[in-house]
Symmetry: C2
Subunit: 333 residues, 2 copies
């Protein structure tokens, strides 16, 4: 049996904790460390945070540098933020230490168009250190991009791609419910959108990857972010939403070439959304109509794909990689 990969979990929010739980269950991975900046977590056994009866022996550390030094991980799972600007320091620290990195940072999924400077820096640093970095997740990372790439294999020609994702936010974690503005008055929602404090991070990265890999020339990207307004009171364990308040978000990204639509991404995440699903329509030869009934469960699935990609990331050629450059990620590999 090959040696187990030594893993540090960086970030202990809901997805990080789930990834840690999953890592413990894997025979090919060994969770050797857990890091979070929250001082209330430092020094606690992960078993406490996972609400399992046994102590795990993995004690939460607050300092990434000393955790890397002490544990010498093969790979770090990063679940600390959505924006590259917020996590570049951590990424550079991990890579400089010579560890591979798999990250749910949305902007890292395909940073080449919007963040070329950061992408080039990560890539050259990773090559120097002989390690790989991969941005992964479900959205971006799977439902609105990779699954469409996979389906495209059977097409002779692609004219355009339309993807619609409908998520019932009732089933999602508290941070997600806050991210979609649930419970806000409509004006406050719009003000937050204007300040770029609301909106799904990663939709444009999905579009950029699709355009680049499928060779769909896009010269104009248009984003719209609108509130979905509650028509009746909604109570969740995290929030109460009155009629007229915001139940969630309708976020679209449209990619056009000389005015004609090539890529359309339509994301609706709101409390009580009926018939959640993921739908991909490829116009081309042959056309493809694909639907995941019920949709791909966001949080559980994000932790799953993060952990499932570990072996692929470690085996990948050094550098900043995209999902299109590693062998297909599967459950349990």
């Amino acid at each position: 049996m090959p040696q187990r990969l030594r893993v540090i979990q960086l970030g202990l929010g809901p997805i990080g904790l789930e990834a840690a739980r999953l890592t413990f269950s894997r025979s090919d991975l060994e969770l050797v460390g857990a890091v979070d900046v929250d001082p209330r977590l430092g020094g606690r056994d992960l078993g406490d945070l996972l609400e399992i009866p046994d102590r795990t022996g993995v004690i939460v550390q607050s300092d990434l540098a000393s955790a890397l030094e002490r544990e010498g991980p093969d790979i770090v799972f990063q679940t600390t933020g959505s924006r590259l600007a917020d996590v570049m320091g951590q990424i550079e620290q991990v890579v400089r230490h010579g560890a591979n990195l798999a990250s749910t940072t949305e902007e890292l999924f395909f940073p080449h168009r919007r963040h070329p400077v950061e992408a080039a820096r990560i890539d050259s640093l990773a090559r120097e250190q002989g390690v790989s970095v991969l941005g992964t997740g479900v959205n971006p990372g799977f439902a609105m991009d990779t699954l469409a790439l996979c389906l495209s294999a059977v097409c002779r020609r692609i004219d355009s791609v339309s993807i619609r994702r409908v998520v019932d936010a009732m089933t999602r974690r508290a941070p997600l419910q806050r991210k979609i503005g649930a419970g806000l008055p409509v004006e406050e929602f719009r003000a937050k959108v204007a300040r770029k404090e609301l909106g799904h991070v990663g939709l444009v990265e999905s579009l950029d990857l699709l355009a680049a890999v499928l060779g769909l020339v896009v010269d104009e990207v248009e984003e719209t972010i609108e509130p979905v307004v509650a028509t009746q009171a909604i109570r969740t364990s995290h929030a109460t939403v009155e009629p007229g308040q915001v139940a969630g978000i309708h976020h679209t990204a449209l990619g056009r070439s000389a005015g004609s639509l090539r890529i359309s991404l339509d994301l609706r995440m709101y409390l009580g959304a009926p018939s959640p699903h993921d739908e991909i329509a490829i116009e081309g030869d042959p056309p493809i109509r694909n639907r995941v009934e019920g949709g791909i469960a966001g949080d559980a699935a994000t932790a799953a794909i993060l952990v499932n990609c570990a072996g692929r990331v470690v085996a990948a050629p050094p550098g900043l990689r995209t999902i299109a450059e590693v062998p297909i990620i599967t459950c349990g590999t």
Copy 2:
């Protein structure tokens, strides 16, 4: 721009011709040769066979060895047979010549369990020669295996996989209509099944790949092949089927572990099958329900994935590869 890959198309049945047509349309590929054993095709310009007005300058050759010698291809697309035993000679010839090979040979898709000797021989020969060999296609190759692998990425755990494919054979080429026994009396269908002259080649290879990659232990594989009987007369451009005659095939492969079902593949291909589709159900955490409405068009899609995989095969590490070992195949790469 990187140099175009030099391609020989080996086999000029319907799928081979379609692959040749597609290769001509690609800027990254150059069709340098076409080979078929049929003496009636030798010496003709491919343009004739493709029914296009222009001469292509690619003249059909009957001898593979001299075509390899003369054209020095980077990769050969092989569409000459379903069974490994029938095409091993060609595979060895291509690999010994130092060319990569992408093949629609159904038994090559995952030969490791059923044909371990041939698999090992191809693998060691390919490593010696520094080239790669990949079995690809739609079924096996995509609809009942690779798409399920792709979907599994978002699962924490998989208990079982059920895949159903329904194909309306009216839309398919003549060889396919013969393969499913369309127009035969039921007794003759059963006799041919008993002699292994009928049945979809590759269903068990799909099952074997799923079991191996997803780690689903299967200790017993059961296949059934039943006729679908026409209830009314069916006329196609290739055949006439009277009521009571065979309209097509219902082929299943079930993989069990200690009696419990882990993988179920259910394939129905018959003339006039209503609501063609491809459906994948993964039982696990989370469960996944995926459906391709209309199904994945068999012939066009097989030619497409064959041509789409060229770059991946050439870039793969030397040896006999499976679809799980190369980066995701996409349209146009």
